[in-house]
Symmetry: C2
């Protein structure tokens, strides 16, 4: 059974004869599946009136256990964003009531962002829906195929992280 990537690769193979069909087929499918998950995830979050960047920010606060606090700088570093962007995100989340901002008592340079009960609640709804989206896709494979796929992907991830 052929998928759209088979067609795509066959088309480019005519133009770029030195292209490695296996490599291209795998890389294109990795990207296609990720884009699919991105789209489905954005759709279920939109049902809660949430953008993905809002969810990711709440997620990083939730990742720190109770009381779900972090400084803007910490959040920016972990999310791979500039400090400027984090200021904007926290402005928006504070306006929507999902986050509180206050100054650190010991070091008044620092700001401490805290997840509000409303923020925690919408995060819970979002994380549940996102898990469901991922399950709907991956459950297309049997458990043994899932394990097989996971092992192959782990080998690739290890290669990107520096072999040990």
């Amino acid at each position: 059974m052929k998928d759209s990537i088979d067609d795509h690769v066959a088309l480019w193979a005519r133009e770029l004869p030195e292209m490695d069909l296996r490599v291209e087929g795998i890389a294109a499918r990795l990207q296609k599946l990720t884009r699919y998950l991105d789209r489905r995830r954005d759709a279920v979050l939109a049902a809660h009136g949430l953008q993905y960047w809002e969810f990711k920010t709440l997620h990083m606060l939730r990742r720190n256990g109770a009381p779900y606090q972090a400084t803007p700088g910490e959040l920016a570093t972990r999310l791979g964003l500039s400090p400027a962007t984090m200021t904007n995100r926290l402005d928006a989340l504070e306006r929507r009531g999902y986050v509180d901002r206050g100054h650190d008592r010991d070091d008044r340079r620092k700001v401490v962002a805290t997840l509000t009960p409303a923020g925690l609640k919408i995060w819970q709804q979002g994380i549940g829906d996102i898990s469901q989206v991922e399950e709907n896709l991956i459950h297309q494979l049997s458990h043994t195929d899932q394990d097989h796929l996971l092992v192959l992907l782990r080998r690739l991830v290890l290669a990107t992280e520096g072999d040990h």
Copy 2:
């Protein structure tokens, strides 16, 4: 051998007991590998002074065989962008000399964008470097493992293309 996703999943498993570890491990690795390829690709393109959105636009023009032409509307649809964005992209690419714009003689509403020789040349350099990045990653697996991985990924892609 454990990778960073194993740690990530183990961490969240404590907080979300109903989470499916296999599903999460696969989904997280798909996304991590795609992000890795994105970063490496952006880096090699930057060596040619090219942003990925510029390359993608040239790529879509190159995809149409010689004389490498398309209308803004066609490009916007295939790239999943708004017409407004395509106007901006073509403005920039025309300024850099990678694209020419002219009016269609038969239908003067239409604009025809054409890849210049300079645009074709930089696309060739970019596509070669991107293929190299993908090969460097995927060649971590043997040919038989690559084939196994490809088959599993194709099954997932087919699942995303079957139901709508």
